[in-house]
Each structure stands twice: as C-alpha cells, then as structure tokens.
Amino acid sequence: MAAGIRTSELRKVYNTAPPLAAGPGGAFSFAAKRSKGKQPKPEVVALDGISLDIHSGEIFCLLGPNGAGKSTTVGVLTTRVKPTAGRAWIGEHDVWKEQSAVKRLIGVVAQRPNLDFSLTAREILVFHGAYFGLGSHERNTRAASLLERFKLTDRADQIVRGFSGGMMQRLSIARAMMHDPQVLFLDEPSAGLDPQTRLLLWEIIREYNRSGKTVLLTTHNMEEADALCQRLAIVDHGRVIALGTPQELKASVPGGYLVRVRFGQHSPDLLERLKTLPGVREVRSTENNSADLYADRGGSLVSDVANLSVAAHAELCDVHISEPSLENLFLHHTGRSLRE
C-alpha cells in the first residue's frame, strides 16, 4: 500500500546551530530568547509554515537554494527534526506521534553519506534489513541484488571507509531501498555524482516510482527537478513560493523567456518604453542599471531593446537570454538566482 506525505504549517526555529544536514537555514534574528541576562541566542527560522500534500505514488521535488529549508523539511518528515509547530503525516501516521510506524514506511538517503564505517558494504545492507525484521535469506538475497544493481558487487565485502563519495552515495541509496519502503526520501541525491552515475540514479528512482512508491527528493539542480519530478515545490527562506508540475510552473512565468539587460546608465524612461515592446510581459528594474524582461520571445527581442537604448542614449552593455526554465521561475519569485 503506497503512502502519501502531508504537512500542515510546519515551522522550525533553531536556537542552537542547526545540524549539518539541515544547512544554515533561513534568516538569523537576535530577537526574543533572552535567558537570565545572558547573551541572546541567535534564532534561525528554518521552516516558516510549510504545507504540502504529496500524493501517494508521486515523484515530488523540493527545489531551492542552500539553506532554503529543504533538508529541515526532510528531517521533520523522517523523525530526525522536531518541529517547533505544525504537523506532518506519512500515510495516515502522524510523524511525531507514531514514529515507529512511520519509520517502517520510509527509506532515507541523507545529504551526507552516513554509512556505518565499521561494516562492509554487504553487512551494511544485511544489518539494515535485520533492523527492519527481514529474515536471513531475504536480507541476504536483497542485499546481493541491490549491490549488483548499484554496481557495488566487486567491493561488497570491503569496509566502506575507503569508498569514494559516489560509491558511498550509491550504497546509501541501496540501503534506503533495502526494506522496500513505501516512501523514499532523497536529500540532494546526485550531489557529487558523475553524470553517468546520475543517470543511473535517475533511472533507478523512476523504476522505483513505477512500482507505485512515493519519492520525495530535494535538489538545487533545476535540470534534475525538471527531468524527474511529476510535481515540485519551490522553497525559499522556509516557505513554499510556488507549487505545481514543472510545465505549469514554467508556464506561470510571464512570457516564459527571461532577457536580462544592463545599460551604461540608469534611465527610468527607457524602462517604461521597454514595457511597450511587443511580447514583453513584465519589466523589473534590478541593481546596476540592469533590468529583467519577462517576454514570450528571446533572441528577436534583442534588436528592439538595442534600438530603444540607442534612442534613449543609454548604451546597452550586456544581454543574457534564458529560455523558459525553473531558474526563471525562481528568479521571478525571489529576485535571486538559484545558484546565488
């Protein structure tokens, strides 16, 4: 039986350093939290009211820059982070109140490999199976099959301490699949993987999903979100700023194309005229005499922009055209690039 994921107004405020996997999170504030005249503790708002409804059998992606709150969301959903407020469910089980039942349903690949360094690759899988109550024959068979699937058979009986980052990541994913969970969490699964292994990973995720399992992955890689996910949420500063299918989200950017231009000098009049160009849907003034033009065409707009700038005596210094993408969507909502 597949299980979906729901969260309701999840909020998490750290007043100590957040765990490594959760990243630095949102904004620091030195407000409240004064205790007995000591220095105020810095508060980090990692989640600021995240509500999600991820359908069972769906590949869902949390897309956002580092520190957006993706890992903290995964942490809450996998029982590793206690929310400050709000609730979360895996299937019908309340994550915080029914932890053991939830842990039976989920498999987790953390952002950093957290393999048991005292064991061999095979032992890691076999013991993981044993923690989940698999019988001896079943866990040995499954371990052998996963090692083969993830191309780790030749190193299966070596201690994992000497493994490369990519091998550790592959083994982490194999371990998460070992007990055949209904919901698979992958936190930045392709970070540090070479392109070939990344494609193998994508194929494995799709195949796992085809068997009816729910997959939640986090990434700051737009291509990955676009290629893999049926729906995605764009997260920034602990909030969901957009949610839908990749196509819907890309279509929600006015025009779809983004033309970023920079002029030699600031000219409010020129910005007004840019808005009147055919196909231009929205113009936003940005720093350094620059502007973002959201339009339904790209290259053909450049000559019109150049003509207007000549007429306004504002030299056109730089032009960059982006085709419809999730990056444009993120920029449109936050004014920042995902890569910043």
């Binding site: 750290y14 957040p18 765990p19 490594l20 996997a21 959760a22 942490g75 996998t78 029982t79 590793r80 982070v81 206690k82 932890q99 053991s100 039942a101 842990k103 039976r104 989920i106 987790v108 953390a110 950093r112 490999p113 957290n114 393999l115 048991d116 360094f117 005292s118 064991l119 032992e123 890691i124 013991f127 993981h128 044993a130 923690y131 989940f132 109550g133 371990r175």
Partner: protein, 256 residues
C-alpha cells in the same frame, strides 16, 4: 519495543567487536595487567608492599577493567557516530523508539564490561599467584555486584558519550576518567582514607568507590570494606542517575 531490531543491533555490535578483538583485548587488559605486575609482583616481591596487598589489589583491578571497558565501549563509538558522519543514523531510523538504540548500547557495553571483569580475574590471579586469597563464598551477591558495576560503566559511557564532543575526548579522560580512577578506591580500600576525613567523605560522590568496594566485599571480605547496603544504594543510585542523564543527552543529540 521491537526486539528483532534490538537483537540485530546487538549482533552488529558483536560483529564489530569481533572484528576489532585484538585491539579490544590490548585496550582492556594491557594497562590493568601492567599495574598488577608492577604493584602486585614487583613491589610486593621487593618488599615495598605487604604480601596481602595482592588480594586487596585484585578486586580494584577488576573494577578498573570493567569500568574502563564499559565506558570506552559505549562512549567512544557514540562520540564518533554522532559526529560529522552521523553513522548512527541508520539505527535511529530503525522502526523502534530511539531510546532503545541507547539502551542497546548500554546492554552491549555491560556485556563487554562483564566479559572484561570475568577475564581479568584469572589473568591477574596467574600474574599474582601464589598468595592471592580470594573467597567466593557468596557467588550470587558477587554476580549481582559485578552486574551493577558493568551496568554503571555502560551507563557512564552513555552519559559521557552523549555529552562530550570529539575534540574534547582528551579532556574527558583527564578531567573525568583519571580522577575517577585515582579517587575510586581501586588501589586502596575506602577505609585507608580514614586519615583524610574530608577526602573520605568527598570520594563518596565517585561511583567507582562503590564498584571497587562492592567487589572487595564479595571477593576479599577479610579486608575492611563499605557495607553491602551502601554499595547497593550507591551503585543503583548512580546507575539510575547516569542512565537518565544518558538517555536525555542521547535524545538531545539524536533529534534536533
């Protein structure tokens, strides 16, 4: 409680201990046996210590080995597993309450401490003989005391392992473990502190005192020792305290 997961975690710890058996044996026995050799053999043999010191020393060495083993067996892996690599995460994600992960560590540590205690007696006896006067007249009492000592060492390991950062391991040994050993009545009976009344009272906050004196009371009762009632109250009290603190710290480390 999910006993299958619990047993699997114990099996995992046994596998790791078996893999590191040589290092483990050196770590457990080398220091205590060197101490036995120097104080029990060299010092007694050369006349600086009375021959009866051999018998007095043995229970203390047993307590020392057990406590050292239990603390090391629980604290060191925990300190490592909670650090950067967070190796413990696969066990925290096993389908059972995370307190049981901590309790499993305590059980594994207790078993290792008991094994150390049981093995150090014949080893030390062989080094010291002849002239060791052990009298196991109350084997059940001895077994209960040994179990409580082993449990104390593992609970202490849990509390320390979840409270100390990797960078402070050296400090943990010099500030906590070393004073505990020297003021733990391991090399001398508690009654020997009669001439230092303040110190004699102060060392009662050291749980190792109850461990050493308890083993002394059940192995060499001919020497002065704390009453068994005091030993039981002390060991049970410290076990409860350290387990409570350890579990609380474990939760703080495990869940952010």
């Amino acid at each position: 409680m999910n006993y299958k997961a619990f047993i699997a975690m114990l099996a995992r710890d046994v596998r790791v201990a078996r893999r590191n058996i040589v290092a483990l044996l050196f770590q457990t026995f080398l220091q205590p046996l060197m101490f036995v050799f120097i104080f029990g053999r060299v010092m007694v043999g050369s006349g600086y210590m009375p021959p009866s010191y051999k018998s007095l020393l043995l229970p203390g060495i047993m307590a020392l080995s057990m406590v050292g083993t239990g603390i090391w067996a629980v604290a060191m892996p925990l300190i490592g597993e909670f650090q950067f690599t967070r190796e413990i995460e696969d066990r925290l994600l096993a389908p059972m309450d995370i307190s049981w992960v901590a309790i499993e560590k305590v059980v594994a540590g207790t078993l290792q401490a008991l094994a150390a205690g049981i093995m150090v007696i014949p080893a030390a006896w062989l080094l010291l003989r002849p002239g060791v006067d052990l009298s196991l007249h109350r084997p059940i009492l001895f077994a209960v005391v040994a179990l409580l000592v082993a449990l104390f060492s593992a609970c202490g390991g849990l509390a320390l392992g979840c409270s100390v950062e990797q960078t402070h391991i050296g400090l943990m040994f010099s500030l906590v473990v070393a004073p505990m050993i020297f003021f733990g009545c391991t090399y001398y009976p508690w009654s020997a502190l009669a001439n230092f009344p303040i110190m004699q009272k102060a060392v009662l906050v050291n749980p190792l005192v109850y461990a050493s004196e308890g083993l002394r009371a059940t192995l060499v009762p001919q020497f002065p020792h704390l009453s068994l009632l005091a030993v039981f109250v002390g060991l049970l009290g410290f076990n409860a305290l350290l387990l409570t603190v350890g579990l609380r710290q474990f939760h703080k480390k495990a869940v952010s």
